[in-house]
Structures are given as structure tokens and as C-alpha cells.
Amino acid sequence: MHIMAQAGTVSAMSKAKSHHWWRDVAGIALIAAFGAAGYWLFPDNLALLTRIVAVALLVLSIDLVVGYCGVATLGQAALFGAGAYAAGIACVNGVTEPMTLIAIGAVAGAAAGLLMGGIMLRAHGLAQLVLSIAIVQLFHEAANKASAYTGGSDGLAGLMVSPLFGVFEFDLWGRTAYLMGLTLLLLVFIALKFVVASPFGMLCRGIKQDPVRIRAMGSFVFPVLLKMFVISGAVAGAGGALAAISTQVVGLDSVSFELSANALVMLVLGGLGTLYGALIGTVIFMGFEHMVSAINPFHWMTMVGALLIAVVLAAPGGLSSLVERISASRGGKS
């Protein structure tokens, strides 16, 4: 089973690469602009926006393994949760500086990524997917069992995070949390753009398209993919730590299969293998869900389902492919 979508040919890639840099600068500027616009346009919904940013980090991390390496995973929340619980436990035990907590989350996520990648990369296709499910369920079970440290199903509460730089408090309005999250997201995004454009990133894409040929070229597949898993774990872990800091509670939902599946749905909705798709998918899915569930808290699920079906019918490659198709048809005409 190959989870890959239609991959671009090598020539298309190199052609794209020549004007890659200005497109990426424009793209990052656009994300920053959108983030700032969110801050000014929805000043009363910053907690929601922060949540979206945290989940966006998780979805980005899935894109790294699914979109760039072709590894199917329905268990990425294990890495997100590892970051969230590590930051939460550290915070309860007296490490309250927010930047340190994010770093702790990233390290824990990377460690969990190493473990998870080490197991998952032994299998392929459907079996791999099932391994990812089994791993996230085991993490969930472990977090539930270790209630002395994690609070179990009651949640790990009482995280008292000290103000950012000693000045900006994490308060009711959530400005600090959002701006910190947005900055984190931008930095991670820029870093990941470098990662996926590097020779290492190219190698990952090559493995996704044809692992046999890469092996024949003399590369080792396993360590390359494992490295990507660790990076992806760090990103997801940072997202988890952000969620823990801004919520002040870590619940079992942060290591759940449901969160993993939702995040994968968001990624596919936005489109694989571009990093932009991950952001678009997250914002559209969570924004739409928030909107319809506020309009009708009882029966909104049907609307979300209809959205997913509509996207598959209208844009099978995800929403970002739709954008590309439109811009391509425009470009063709001019």
C-alpha cells in the first residue's frame, strides 16, 4: 500500500526549485499576516486560535512523515501527548519558564518519535498504520495507569506557568499564549521549509517514491526515515507543550487515537507534502467545526461530514491542490 499521492516528476521539482525561495518568503509572510489578522479580527477568540496553532504543529508533524516520507500514521498524538505531559509534569514540579517548557516538550516528543519510529518503520503499509494505532493506544493506557504522575482521566491540573520573559502573563484573554504560539509556529515552519528543501528532505521524498531505487543508490532508508520521525516528534511535542501551557491542564485526549485521526483528516483535507496544506487544513477544519458547532451544538457533525465529502468530490488532492490548480490554470491562460 503506497500512501503517496501523485508525486511530481523530478524535472518539475527542479523547475519549481528555481523560484522556490521567493514563493516561500511570500508564503511565510502570508502566514504571519494571517496570524496577525487573526489577532486583530478575533481578539475574543484567542484561546481557540491558540488551540488551532497547537494542533497545526501536530498536523505539520504528520505531514513530515506522511507527506514527505510516505509513512502512514494514525498515532501521531502519542508524540503530541508526550510533549504535553512532559511539559505538564515539569511545570507541576517547579519548572515554570514557558520557553523551557516548550523545549522540554520538544525533547520529549523527539524521544517518543525515536521510539515510535523505531517500531513503526519495521513494517509497511497497512501494518504500519496498525502499529501506529497500537502505539498510541498503549501510550494512552500508560498515561491512564500512571495517574500518580499524569492525573489519569481527571487530567493533570494546576500548571502554574510563570509569565513569558517575566512580564507577559498567561491570562484569561490569552494574548501571550497566542502570540507565543504564533511565533513558535512561524519559526518551526521556516525551519521545516529548510529541512524539506535540504538534501535530507529530498532523500525522504525519494524514499517515498521509490525506496528500492534509493537503496540501490547506496543510501540507508531506515536511519533517514528515523531522523525524520525524530524531527516530527520534536514538532509535535512542541505543539503538545504549547497546548499544555495555554490550557494549564493536560488531559488524556492529548494522547488519544481520536486526536491522531482528526489531525490526519485535517492534513488530507489541506493536502499532503507541502506544509502549507497542513496549515490550511487545520484552520479550515477547526474553524468550520467551531462555527457550525456554535450555530447548532447538537447536530453539527453532519455538516462537518458533508464538508469532508464535498472536498473529496471537488478537490481529491486536498484544498491546497485546489489553490494550485486554480493558480496553474490562471498561469496557463496568461
Partner: protein
């Protein structure tokens, strides 16, 4: 010894319920290459129909099962025609997106029309009695489920291995373009296999309702279990699915008896172990 036998028979019944529901999914995933995450949703729809037929219309259990299977297949036909046909051959993740969307819709609509309460399917007198099987009493219903599972396994094996439809199906799966050229109407073959898969989901949903009670969230609640069972068995393999259901049923039941506190650990550790030993599932087709 009594305890071991007792555990074994519980495991067998539970495994068979899983088998009846999952084998349909295994067929769609292995033979038609569609990751149909809405499979559980169809089992749930059947449960609702059966519950309505038996409780509100007062029909017998057999009639309810029959109505549920035909009703669910009838509902699935337009879905196959207008939705699924578009995703045959798409990437798996696109299929996941569409079928999860469909599942959300079914849950929302069911919740709206049927309400969020549990629905039961009243069993006939003969099936609701505990039966003494020598070493313990067991619900007659469990024996019935075991029989159903065995019948489904044999029937399917016969259909696929011994009938002309089975030959066409296997040909279509192996090389759809070639069989088309040879005069097999592949669209029809797909439509029929889809209907069979849905019918099996429906049967499983109804006879398994004592284990997996019918309520709107059914469609998502057991999705993981179904997916895991199919993958462990190897998508598309009937004996594989049967072995997977029995082994996982046994691990699950024994684990919950011996160390209930760590029941889930047992189950998923076994899954990881099996998948590492048999990367294609027990009897998965080479791809």
C-alpha cells in the same frame, strides 16, 4: 480446566462477532482496495433497522435480520453509485477522508432521527435462555453467534473459490483492465461485492448487538477495533481474518480474565507482536 474451557468459549463467541462484521471490511479493503471506514456505520444502520422491525413493528428475529440486511444494502446502493465509485483507485488517504466524512454524516443523522439512547433487538425466547453446556451455562445467543460466524466463513469461501462469480471477482481484483477487456463487467462485479460486504456488516451489526450495543456513536466507537482486526488478518483473506479474530478474541478475553487491569496492554502488545512477525497480516496478499 473448567475455567479454560469457559474462557475459550467466551473468546470464540466474541471473536466470531468480530469476524462477521470485519470480514466485509476485509473484502472491501483487500479485494476492492477501498479503505471503508464507514463500514461500522453500515453495521449500525442495520442494527437500527432490526431494532425498529423487532420492537416497533413486532416482527420476529429472523424477519428483522432479513429486513436489516436488505434495508442496509438498499441504503448503500446510492452511496456506492454516487460516492464510492468516485474513490475506487484513489489514494487511501482520500478514501479515508471521504469515508470518515460519511461516518460523521451517518452519526449526525442517526442522532437526529433516532435519538441518542441505546436500542436493543429483542431476542426470541430460544436465544435468550442460558443453556447448560456441561461445564457452565452460556447464553444460547452466544452459541447462535458462533454458528453464524462459521456459516459466513464457509459460505464466503465457497462463493469466492468455487463459483463463477468468485472467479470474476478474483480476476477483476488481479487485473481490472484485463478482465474488462475479457468481457467481465467489472463495475457490476464491484457493485455486487460491495453489496455483499455491506450485507455482512449488517448481519454482524444485528447478531453482534448483544456485544456491541446499537447507539449513534457505534460507527466511530469500534472503528479502530475493526481496522486492527482486518489488518492483523491480512486484508482480503477470509482464513486470515478468521484466525485474526480468534487469536485477538482469545488474547483479549484471556487478558481480561487473567489481568483485567492491563487488558488493553495485552491486546495492543499482541497486535504489535503479530504485526512485527507477520508484516502483511496472518495471510495477507502480497502486494
Amino acid at each position: 480446566m473448567r475455567t479454560i474451557l469457559s474462557i475459550a468459549i467466551d473468546a470464540l463467541a466474541f471473536g466470531m462477532v468480530l469476524f462477521i462484521i470485519c470480514i466485509g471490511l476485509s473484502l472491501t479493503m483487500g479485494l476492492m482496495r477501498v479503505v471503508n471506514l464507514a463500514h461500522g456505520a453500515f453495521a449500525m444502520i442495520a442494527g437500527y433497522i432490526a431494532s425498529y422491525a423487532a420492537r416497533d413493528l413486532g416482527l420476529g428475529y429472523a424477519a428483522a435480520i432479513f429486513l436489516a440486511i436488505t434495508g442496509t444494502i438498499v441504503i448503500s446502493i446510492p452511496l456506492e453509485r454516487f460516492l464510492y465509485r468516485r474513490i475506487y483507485g484513489s489514494s487511501e488517504l482520500t478514501q479515508v477522508l471521504m469515508t470518515i466524512g460519511l461516518t460523521f454524516c451517518v452519526i449526525g443523522i442517526t442522532n437526529y432521527f433516532m435519538g441518542p439512547t441505546l436500542k436493543t433487538i429483542p431476542l426470541p425466547q430460544a436465544l435468550s435462555q442460558p443453556v447448560d453446556v456441561g461445564f457452565r451455562t452460556i447464553a444460547a445467543h452466544r452459541l447462535f453467534v458462533i454458528a453464524c460466524g462459521a456459516a459466513v466463513a464457509v459460505g464466503l469461501w465457497y462463493l469466492i473459490e468455487r463459483t463463477s462469480f468468485g472467479i470474476k471477482l478474483r480476476a477483476t481484483v488481479d487485473n481490472s483492465a484485463m478482465s474488462d477487456a475479457l468481457g467481465v463487467r467489472t463495475q457490476v462485479v464491484y457493485a455486487i461485492s460491495f453489496a455483499i460486504a455491506i450485507g455482512l456488516a449488517a448481519l454482524g451489526g444485528v447478531v453482534g448487538a448483544e456485544f456491541l450495543p446499537i447507539e449513534p456513536y457505534y460507527a466511530l466507537r469500534y472503528m479502530v477495533t475493526f481496522l486492527v482486526v482486518v489488518s492483523v488478518g491480512g486484508a482480503g483473506s477470509i482464513p486470515g481474518a478468521l484466525i485474526a479474530c480468534l487469536v485477538l478474541g482469545l488474547v483479549d478475553t484471556t487478558g481480561r480474565y487473567l489481568m483485567p487491569d492491563f487488558g488493553n496492554f495485552f491486546f495492543y502488545a499482541a497486535v504489535i507482536l503479530i504485526v512485527c512477525l507477520f508484516p502483511r497480516g496472518f495471510l495477507g496478499r502480497a502486494q
